[in-house]
C-alpha cells in the first residue's frame, strides 16, 4: 500500500512521465472541445433544418457576378461561381503586387535621396498611407471614382480612345483569340530557353575562362519560338477601340470602379510598407561595400547590381514576403466596396444556401492554401539569395 503511493508520487515527479501527461491532457482537452462543439453544431443544424455537405457546389448558382475573368453565367454551378471568385481574388492581388512593388521601390529609393525635398515628399507619402486604415482608403477611392468623375455620357477622353467616367476606366483592347494565347505561350517558352542558355554560357565562361559573344544566341532562343508560332498561325491583330455612343461607350475593355478602387487602394497601401522595407534593405549594406567595389573598378550600375542589391535582397526578401501575404489577405476587403472576390461570392452563396460552415471552410482553406503557396515560393527564392556559409 505504502509502496504503491510512493511509486505514484515518484511517477508524478518523473520528468518523462510529466511530459507525456501534459501532452495527453492538451490533446485530450482539444479533442473533447471539438466533440462538444461538433455535437452542438449537429444539433443546431438539425433544429434549423440546414443541409450539410458540399453537395450544393454542383447545384445551379442563379446569381450574377458583375465581372469575371473566366466564363460564368447565372446558370452555372456554385462551384464555378466560387472558382470565378478565386480567379478574381488572384487577378486583383497579382496586379496590386506588381504595382505596389514598382511604387515601393521608387518611393523607397526616394526616401534615401540626398535631395531633402524629395525625401520629405516620400516620407509624407509613406506616413499618410501607413497610418490610415486601408478600409478607409478603399471607401474614399471608391467614393471619389463614383461621385467625383463624370457620368458615362460625359466621359473624359484623357488619351485618344481612353475614357474615364464614373463607371470606370475604358481602354482599347486586343481581340484575343486562341492563336494569341499560343503565341504568348511560345514567348514565355522562348524566355525560359533564353534564361537557361544564358546560365549555361556563363557557366562555360567561368569553366574555360574564354569570353564569347553570347547575345545573338540568347536573342535567337528568345525570339524563334514566338516567331515560328506567328508564322504558322498567322493571327489577325485587330484592336477594339472604345467609341463614345449616345448613352454608353462601346468596344474596348473596361475596368470597373470596384476593381480600380481596390487595385489603387491595395497597391498604394502595400507600396508604403514595401518602400520602408527597400529603404532598410539598402541602408543595411555598409558604405564600405560601395567603396570596395569602386576600388575594384566597377561602375555605379554594376556595383548596384552585383554588390549592393544581392546583399540588400537578403534583408529585403523575408519582410517582403509577409508584405505580399498581407496584401493578398487584404484583398478580402473587396467585399466592402462590392468587387466580386472569393469572400463576396462565398458570402452570397452562404446567404442563398444557409450553409455557413461549408462556405467559410472553403474560403479559409483557399486563403490558407494560397498563403502557404506564396510563402513556399518566397522561401525558395530567399534560400537562393541567402548568405551561403560553409
Amino acid at each position: 500500500m505504502q509502496a504503491d503511493s510512493m511509486s505514484g508520487t515518484r511517477l508524478l515527479y518523473n520528468l518523462r512521465f510529466r511530459a507525456i501527461l501534459y501532452q495527453v491532457l492538451a490533446v485530450g482537452s482539444i479533442v473533447l472541445l471539438g466533440l462538444y462543439l461538433f455535437s452542438n453544431v449537429s444539433q443546431k443544424l438539425a433544429e434549423q433544418n440546414i443541409a450539410t455537405g458540399f453537395g450544393y457546389l454542383s447545384r445551379e448558382a442563379g446569381f450574377v457576378i458583375s465581372q469575371t475573368m473566366i466564363d460564368y453565367k447565372p446558370t452555372d454551378t456554385y462551384g464555378r461561381a466560387i472558382l470565378a471568385g478565386i480567379v478574381n481574388t488572384i487577378w486583383v492581388s497579382a496586379w496590386s503586387v506588381v504595382l505596389a512593388s514598382i511604387l515601393g521601390l521608387v518611393v523607397g529609393i526616394a526616401r534615401l535621396s540626398r535631395n531633402p525635398l524629395l525625401a520629405l515628399l516620400a516620407f509624407l507619402y509613406v506616413e499618410a498611407l501607413r497610418n490610415v486604415p486601408l478600409l478607409l482608403y478603399l471607401f474614399l477611392w471608391y467614393a471619389l471614382i463614383v461621385t467625383g468623375l463624370p457620368a458615362v455620357r460625359e466621359a473624359w477622353e484623357v488619351l485618344p480612345h481612353v475614357f474615364v467616367s464614373n463607371s470606370g476606366l475604358t481602354v482599347p483592347s486586343l481581340n484575343w483569340t486562341r492563336a494569341h494565347t499560343i503565341i504568348f505561350a511560345a514567348l514565355v517558352l522562348g524566355g525560359v530557353l533564353a534564361v537557361f542558355l544564358r546560365r549555361h554560357i556563363t557557366a562555360e565562361r567561368i569553366r574555360t575562362g574564354k569570353e564569347r559573344t553570347a547575345w545573338p544566341l540568347i536573342a535567337m532562343a528568345l525570339l524563334i519560338p514566338p516567331a515560328l508560332a506567328f508564322l504558322i498561325l498567322q493571327p489577325e491583330f485587330t484592336v477594339s477601340l472604345p467609341e463614345k455612343g449616345r448613352f454608353r461607350l462601346t468596344g474596348g475593355s473596361q475596368l470597373t470602379p470596384e476593381f480600380t478602387a481596390l487595385l489603387i487602394g491595395l497597391a498604394l497601401s502595400a507600396s508604403a510598407g514595401i518602400a520602408e522595407i527597400v529603404r532598410s534593405g539598402i541602408l543595411s549594406v555598409r558604405k564600405g561595400q560601395w567603396e570596395a567595389s569602386r576600388a575594384l573598378g566597377l561602375r555605379d550600375g554594376l556595383t548596384m547590381r552585383l554588390v549592393v542589391l544581392p546583399q540588400a535582397l537578403r534583408v529585403i526578401i523575408p519582410p517582403l514576403t509577409s508584405s505580399y501575404l498581407s496584401l493578398f489577405k487584404n484583398s478580402s476587403l473587396a467585399i466592402a466596396i462590392g468587387y466580386p472576390d472569393l469572400v463576396m461570392v462565398s458570402n452570397t452563396t452562404m446567404n442563398q444556401t444557409g450553409q455557413a460552415i461549408e462556405g467559410i471552410a472553403i474560403f479559409m482553406l483557399v486563403y490558407l492554401g494560397l498563403s502557404i503557396a506564396i510563402s513556399l515560393f518566397m522561401n525558395w527564392y530567399n534560400s537562393r539569395v541567402a548568405l551561403k556559409e560553409r
Binding site: R114, L117, N131, L135, M350
Partner: protein, 370 residues
Amino acid sequence: MTTATDIAEAQLKMPVRRDPGVERRLFHRTLKPLIGTPVNAVVTLVCLWVMWLGIKGAYGWLVTRAVTEGGAQACKVGQGACLPYYEAKLRFMVFGVYPYDEHWRVALAMLLFLGAIAITMVPRFWNKKLLVLWGVTIVTTAVLLWGGVFGLSYVPTTQWSGLPLSFLLSAVGLALGFPLGVVLALARSSKLPAIRVIAIVFIEVIRGVPLISILFMASVMLPLFMPSGVTVDKLLRAQIAIIIFAAAYIAEAVRGGLQAIPRGQHEAASAMGLHYWQSMRLIVLPQALKIAIPPLVNISIGFFQDTTLVTIIGLLDFLSTVRTAMTDPNWVGIAVLEGYVFAAVVFLVFSYGMGAYSRFLERRMRLGYD
C-alpha cells in the same frame, strides 16, 4: 630620402586652409543637395511644384473656398470644405448611437483611458502601481459605459459605437490577446511535440487567413457552435475574434524575443534549481518581452486600424459611424470627403503618435537604458 621630420616641415609650409566662410557653408549645406547637379535641380523644381499644388489645394479647400455658414444647401453649392457639416454631425461621428444625453459618460471614459495610456507610456512609471491604475481605469470605464449603477442609466452594448468602440475593441483585443499570445509563444518553443504542433497549427492557420474570415466565423459560425438557447452578444463575438487574431500575431512577436535569449540563460536558471515556470517567469520572459516591445507596439498600431473591419459584419465602429453620418437624408452625397478626411485625420494622429512612441522605445533600447 624622406624622413618624418621632412614631412612635418613640408606640412608646416603648406598654406593653412582658409575658413570657407559662412556663405559657402550655407551653400554646401542647404543649396548643394537641392541644385548640385542639373538632374537634382529638375527634381527640386518638380518637388516644389507638387508641394505647391498640394498646399494650394488643401488651403483652398479648407480655408478660402470653405463653406462656413448655412446648411446642406449652401454646402451643395459651395466647392470647399463644409464646416456646418462638422457642427451638425461631429458628435454623431465620434460617439455614434450612444444616447445623446449620456455622451459625457463616454467622453469621460475615453479621457480616463487615454490618460492611463499616456501614463503607461512613460518608462519612469513602469512598476507595480500601474496595475492598480489600470484596475481602477477598467472598472470606472466599464461602469461609465454600461451604467445601471450609481444612478447611471443602463446602456446596452448594441448602442456602444463610434470612436469609443474602436478604442474598446483594439484595447481589449490586445490586453487579452497578450497573455494568450505569450502562452502560445511558449507552447511553440516548447520541447513537447504535441503541444508545439498544436501551437504551430493554431498560429499559422490564424495568420494564414484574413481577419475578415475570422470575423465572419465569429458572426456566422459561432452561434452554431453554442449549445441551444445560449446566445452570445454580437459585440462580444467580434471581440473574441479580434482577441484570437491578436494572440496569433503577438505570439510571433514574443517568439522573436524568446529566440533572442541565449541558451545560457535557460541553463543558468536550471542550474539555480528553478523549474520551467519559475525560470520563464523570473529569468527568460522579462528579457524576451523587453526585446519584443517595439514589434508589439507596431502590432498595436495595425490592430487599431484593423478594428475598422468590424464595419463589414455590421458593428458601428468609428469608420462606420462616419459613413452612417454621410447617409443622413439631409446630407447625403454632400459631405463625403469631409467625413473621410475627418476619420483619416483621427486615425493618422493616433497611429503616428504610437509609431513615434515605438521609435522612441527602439532608440532607448539601443542606448541601453534599463
